[in-house]
Symmetry: C2
Subunit: 730 residues, 2 copies
């Protein structure tokens, strides 16, 4: 059976399965889970059916509390039920979750794990939301990649029926939910084969039904509640076995094998990292590189987090592992350790007391915290953790990925250490929000993923300023499955889709020696060099970059596309990257254009086609001079006379160097000074409104519509104008 190969993000991968295996889907949007609900809603609106041929009923509630309650009701009616959420949305579901689990109900919540707001809100990813639900009785199953979000979604929907317990299937917000990757899609037959028909029938038979009335939701008193609560123990004890059964069934069907805990590394490793979530990808690259260098290291991936199966964990951990680092992507202030660490240490200490340790004595277990709010976790950080494990006296607990100059918890790491992975191509694309760069890159990933045997991955970084922001597209492709679950640190190809960005952003910071640099330039190849900021020239010379330019705006305008340069630069990328024969790439781009713009009519299509064809002709290589010339410099992000906080903190954030700010830079309670936006000159407006007294009819709309208040209205008595200077317009 041939399964379709698709290029989708984690949210689509999970919600695809959810929609196929559900009858009632209650939704409420919250970043980064929203697209799961939107997908389900769209698909049902389009008439897409689940594997039984019925269209799932999608209902949007007034909040996540309502969505959870709607699921509770649907479950009691015997429906196959799911919902999607994250962060505070998950917290609002908690009261209902305790009940749904206590009632031994079947259902799945898919969570794109996101930071819970504390000193500041963050829409990005960590495990603080899921960890806030670990005591509810839900089964917690983690996926660490887009393919896993697809596969383990199927395991969750299957195992909830056999376990008779609700599942919370989670994966990292943004890094997995929004990463676009090439995956193998499960077929309806696969999904059907995953379900246990008997367990499904039993779920339906437990539906509330006036023909077979039962009483649920009683109130119990001290005399009996405790006993009744313990009566559910057998169901929780059976979960690990039943989840493994579902994983085994999946493996037999599809070929990808999963276990409650999956170990990779040396069978006789002396140092092991235990973790879950997308950062596993980065850690795995490090393990492979260190293994190749003969180091005895390993990585233990946690998939089933609750119930935590001590026996399976001890079996998966090499008996030789004398040093273990447990990495948590959450922070629980005041606890003696973050949750995964405490669980692992508890299991090992229990085994030590019971004499069932895999090794001879209690391993040294140390605790690391990483990746809060989608802070990067890179192979270099994993390397630093392994180094720490090798220290004579390893730190008992640490953070990794930041510089903590306050409580000095952070480990140093070598930013220049990189894992082996030379067969993979890494490309970075800098664009402006709404300029089409991200869309074109998603499309390129799709073209590579679906038209070549290569694996491809795209991840897209925005700042929070929406339209007009800087966007960076991180694209990887290569012959092997791509594990890199972190931003690209060394790129062989860099494209800058807007010339102006060169003055604001360090576009070439990640350029490797000899990399290709594609620049959208309004200047010809003869004059462009001196227009480049001298810092950029220096980088090009020092790193021996190959510089290509294309007048994207010129080509687009000539083709009648205004300022939409995305197609032009996409075509040039394929021309330079050599991943596909140029002709085939052009065909695929045109096919994609037809898909995207087909509805807008033949004229638009022809204009885009013309732009594609003209792009290749306009692409030129620039002879790189041996020396720096010209007067253009990269801007400083804020004026020199800005207040100190703005210069030392805000400016670094604006410049994209926020990651380098140490802990001491930040007010501990999230309180910031006001009035700081005045120092950020974003310079993204192509036009600025100027009041023209001659044509003004006093309608005041100019002041009303401009979100930036570029024109402001003041009312005053005309009499006071007598003293006004001559040049004062009114």
């Amino acid at each position: 059976m041939k399964r379709p190969i698709v290029t989708v993000d984690g949210n689509e991968a999970a919600s695809y399965v959810a929609h196929k295996l559900s009858e009632v889907i209650a939704i409420y949007p919250i970043t980064p889970s929203s697209t799961m609900g939107e997908n389900a809603d769209d698909w049902s609106a389009e008439g897409r059916t689940n594997i039984w041929g019925t269209i799932p009923e999608v209902v949007e509630m007034q909040s996540e509390a309502g969505a959870a309650a709607a699921c509770h009701g649907a479950i009691q009616a015997g429906a196959l039920t799911t919902t999607f959420t994250a962060s505070q949305g998950l917290l609002l579901m908690l009261p209902t979750m305790y009940k749904v689990a206590g009632e031994l109900s079947c259902g799945v919540i898919h969570v794109s794990a996101r930071t819970v707001a504390t000193h500041a809100l963050s829409i990005f990813g960590d495990h603080s939301d899921v960890m806030g639900a670990r005591q509810t009785g839900f089964v917690l199953l983690n996926s660490a990649s887009v393919q896993e979000a697809h596969d383990l979604a199927a395991v969750a929907h299957a195992a909830t029926l056999t376990c008779r317990l609700p599942f919370l299937h989670f994966f990292d917000g943004f890094r997995t939910s929004s990463e676009v990757a090439k995956i193998e899609l499960l077929t309806d037959e696969d999904l059907r084969a995953m379900l246990d028909e008997e367990a499904l029938a039993a779920h339906r038979a437990r539906a509330m039904d006036p023909e077979r009335p039962v009483l649920r939701g009683t109130a119990q008193n001290p005399d009996v509640f405790f006993q009744a609560r313990e009566a559910s123990n057998p169901f929780f004890l059976a979960v690990p076995g039943k989840v493994q059964e579902a994983m085994d069934r999946f493996g037999a069907l599809v070929g990808r094998r999963y276990h409650l805990f999956d170990y990779v590394g040396a069978p006789d490793a002396d140092r092991v990292i235990v973790m879950m979530g997308s950062a596993i990808g980065a850690a795995e690259e490090t393990v492979r590189t260190l293994l190749a260098a003969g180091e005895k290291v390993g990585l233990l991936k946690v998939r089933l987090y609750r119930p935590f199966d001590a026996a399976a964990f001890l079996k998966a951990l090499p008996a030789t592992a004398g040093r273990v680092a447990v990495l948590d992507r959450t922070k629980e202030p005041g606890a003696v350790g973050d949750p995964l660490y405490q669980d692992v240490l508890t299991v090992l200490a229990q085994a030590a007391m019971a004499g069932t340790l895999p090794g001879e004595s209690l391993p040294r277990v140390i605790a690391g915290r990483y990746g809060l709010s989608s802070k990067e976790f890179t192979p270099a950080m994993a390397k630093a953790v392994f180094d720490q494990l090798a220290a004579p006296e390893p730190r008992a607990s640490f953070t990794i990925g930041i510089e903590d100059d306050v409580t000095h918890l952070s480990l140093d790491y070598d930013r220049n250490w990189h894992p082996d992975g030379e067969r993979e191509v890494r490309a970075l694309f800098f664009g402006l929000g709404s300029d089409g760069t991200v869309g074109a890159n998603k499309n390129s990933v799709k073209i590579i993923g679906e038209n070549t045997p290569m694996f491809a991955q795209g991840y897209f970084v925005y700042d929070s300023k929406k339209s007009g922001q800087t966007t960076v597209s991180h694209v990887r492709f290569g012959p092997d499955r791509i594990e890199g679950s972190y931003l690209i640190e060394r790129a062989g190809f860099i494209a800058c889709h807007d010339f102006g960005l060169l003055e604001k952003v360090d576009v070439l910071a990640q350029a490797e020696q000899g990399a290709t640099f594609l620049l959208n330039s309004p200047y010809s190849k003869d004059e462009v060099w001196e227009r480049l900021p001298v810092e950029v020239q220096r980088q090009i010379i020092d790193r021996n970059l190959k510089l290509y330019i294309v007048d994207g705006y010129g080509v687009a305008e000539a083709a009648g596309l205004g300022r939409r340069v995305n197609t032009v630069l996409q075509t040039c990328f394929f021309a330079l990257a050599g991943v596909l024969p140029v002709e085939q790439a052009v065909d695929e781009i045109k096919t994609a254009i037809k898909k995207t713009y087909g509805r807008r009519g033949e004229t638009v299509l022809q204009r885009n086609y013309a732009a594609v064809d003209a792009s290749l002709a306009a692409l030129e290589q620039v002879e790189v001079p041996g020396e720096v010339r010209g007067e253009v410099h990269r801007h400083t992000p804020v004026p020199a006379d800005a207040p100190e906080f703005v210069r030392t903190v805000t400016a670094e954030i604006i410049a994209g160097r926020g990651d380098l700010l140490p802990v001491s830079a930040f007010p501990p309670d999230g309180t910031f000074p006001t009035g700081t936006t005045q120092y950020e000159k974003r310079s993204i407006a192509l036009e600025i409104p100027i009041w023209d007294a001659d044509i003004c009819i006093d309608c005041a709309r100019c002041a009303l519509v401009c979100p930036h208040a570029a024109i402001r209205i003041k009312y005053y008595d005309p009499a006071v104008l007598d003293q006004a200077p001559a040049g004062f317009p009114s």
Copy 2:
């Protein structure tokens, strides 16, 4: 300085301090915390002021989510702020709690800890709600008794200011929140002296103020969130020291000394129990008894649960403690251990790895779960835990207090084992809901507590059927502070305020040899014996009880009080108990009557006074015959032809033997059969409505008003009556 001695429940003890030390109090009612909010509301309505002479503003919100948000806002406005909640109410506050803690805010939530609803709802107490909030960043401080709920409330309100972190001060729902006990009341001067003026001024200075604008509630991105989150570490690290400072300040002022962890027991104990909450009282009685018998045992009380201070814990634990049992009053299904156990084991394992253990090697740590939903925790159970610790191979984890015949986790315990405590008097009073028994007993506890040097305690057990239910008042008094935090198991005095109860409830089950039994009897001392169920007669003879009767209904009616027998029986209790000279007791009862009924006018007062005076005359001792006589038997709770579930489960619950039902008796998902109420004949109605066709005007109100549907209306065509039997009324 003389401090007032008062007899109050835990809710009043805590809310008294909260009202004295707050300016804004946001409330939303939920059992068992409601009276805290009601108290605050009443007190402010009465014009009672806080220690600064202003009346706290009490605002009731639409839900606990709103109450938390109102607190958040008030804190940001620089107010001293508090709220009260429990269970699902606390869960609704979670999203706001993360923010309030993340912003390093000062404020206190007082929680009367209550079970979170799972397979069934329960209004009773355990720590599942508080444990669901342990990851929020709130400081968690536990009180184990009514006096502590008062004292540590003051510590919480003081330390939140010095710590710059919000406090969750909690104590056990019902057992502490509703236990009436004699405590020493803190004065305004005490409370004022507890507060650090500088910290208070700093809190006010952090208020949002347009004169000094700041930005709070920002959104942060991956570049900076993690560092900013770690910036708060110093505040959490400082909490243990600052809480101990507040406790020390309290100790110096008031004399009662508290520590983050308080140890009682042998300095060289080999076996130690670690726990928190009201069950400490029961465990402490066991420790004292075992110590007196020469056993090397100890009890470590946890007061500051978050942040959990590892160093203070290790210092408090005797180095000799080779065996440690950690008892949790919550259940987290799927976890490798419940939370307090995991924390203790983590701290010990960390110390073992770091070489800082108090003893030579890692103690054997075992985990026990007890007391869910206010399940009793008795000294006998604590004894069983110590016995288990002494076993050659102690169980790694267990439950205590139930019989688990499903997963066999439960420990056996000897129900007949009791701690020493002979100087304390224990009395039980059986009444009917709304008959005034509970009120009279609260009043008696107050009279003893406030008019004698004795300590007194009252705890009141209701079933959930409100009016007409059985109530049992558990009253202890004696020369020493009363630690018994469990229902009375052996009583020297038992009163039955309703003769009919003898047929339904095993009133004398707890009667000690030679105890006094006071019975409200409509039968004279000559005829009463044969009216007693033969089972009761047997108990009276076997246990050599002294039997007293009073015709409470007769005396009350003669005094014009209808069926309100509470005053009559209260007077007889004092006459028999000998705790006060009878004349003084009579005076105090009359004073209490004046307080309670004064507003209803002189006639009511005189009737009550008359009842008091007549009671003593009506009190008679019954000569107990040596043999059982008569035909009256205690009822079986349900008919013999009831369905099996009703006979084996429902009937046991009705009979008050639900505690003895094993785990296997219960459906694991909380699903019960319907239609079972028909088998419970409560027989509490004194009158039953009968339809009288002669006076019926078809108004239908009889059917509308009766909550029991004793009269039902059916409409049918008069024509069908042709065939009706002669006796069919219509």
